[in-house]
Symmetry: C2
Subunit: 162 residues, 2 copies
DNA sequence: TCCATATATGTAGTTAACTACGTAGTTTTA
DNA sequence: TAAAACTACGTAGTTAACTACATATATGGA
């Protein structure tokens, strides 16, 4: 199991992140199935957000979950098809569509609580190590927010040595 | 900048990983451009592997970089178009195509050394924190190799409480 | 008050990975 | 030694995110 990429260090980091994200998403799908639930991991951010905030516009949801708005729209379409959400025009601003969970959606969220608890434990086993993965992600995101990868590269370059 | 997903904990981890991978890949593209190099981050795993191993078949490359072979084939097509690699039939096994870097490819690899060094430093600034991102990824991957997310979920479920 | 600018939503097309399946050589085994 | 099983490569179609652009409504300033 020699693997050049695992040894090429940090340069292949985006490859490694993507691989890991893919694997977890796919296995997440199997877990929902095994509990007999008709739910997909990619829906989690939207549904969880609406569970907490109850009524939000498309762009507000996009901001909450950190996605571009067209991605959010396509998730909302799927959830509408599943009858887990519905939407109505905002009366005070005709441009906005306010999204809410349906009764079916709320029921499903309740049914998913033990599954989420189960997943959380399994994920903790995987991610809680000497270097905690969630904390590492949070710290890296915080750094990027202060100054991006490109900006840091430019600064290093201008500093002379590279 | 309230963000439900950042606070929803580990359940949205695959979303977070993907976001981070995307951001780093895109900024990586800008960095190559800023150095005047016609190179894309997604090509790195293949090119770096061929730089170290010089002649490999399609499936061997796929295994080295941890991708499915069709993904590798489409990367190889792009690299062939860029004239960075070429291939010839293996004489002892007619099924195999042996891939090598061209002279242009080798020259580019040399030209990229300082850029890779620069990127490595910038990435270290981002990822070397209290919880080191690369190490966290490695640890999580090791755990998954022992027993996957699904398998762990099943075991927790069977243990009774969930 | 009306025009310019900004915001909210939507559509179309792209990207970078994947799985499923097909074909052609190679190896094993009955 | 011929059939079965395996391996290598390739194609087609899918997925889950993205950017760029279009349209409709709202708002602020001259």
């Amino acid at each position: 199991m020699t693997n050049v990429i695992d040894e090429s260090g940090i340069l292949a980091i985006s490859t490694r992140l993507q691989r890991l994200a893919d694997a977890l998403r796919k296995e997440g799908q199997l877990i929902y199935q095994s509990f007999g639930l008709d739910f997909e991991p990619k829906w989690f951010p939207v549904v969880y957000t609406l569970h907490l905030k109850s009524s939000l516009s498309v762009v507000e949801i996009a901001n909450e979950i950190g996605y571009a708005h067209p991605s959010t729209i396509s998730l909302l379409k799927e959830l509408e098809k599943q009858q887990l959400i519905r939407s109505k025009k905002d009366k005070t601003d005709e441009r906005k569509r306010l999204i809410v969970l349906t009764e079916k959606g709320k029921t499903l969220v309740n049914a998913m609580q033990p599954v989420w608890e189960n997943m959380q434990r399994a994920l903790s086993e995987i991610a809680d190590n000497k270097h905690n993965l969630m904390k590492a992600i949070e710290e890296a995101e915080a750094k990027l927010k202060v100054s991006g990868f490109f900006e840091r590269s430019q600064k290093i370059r201008q500093s002379g040595n590279l």
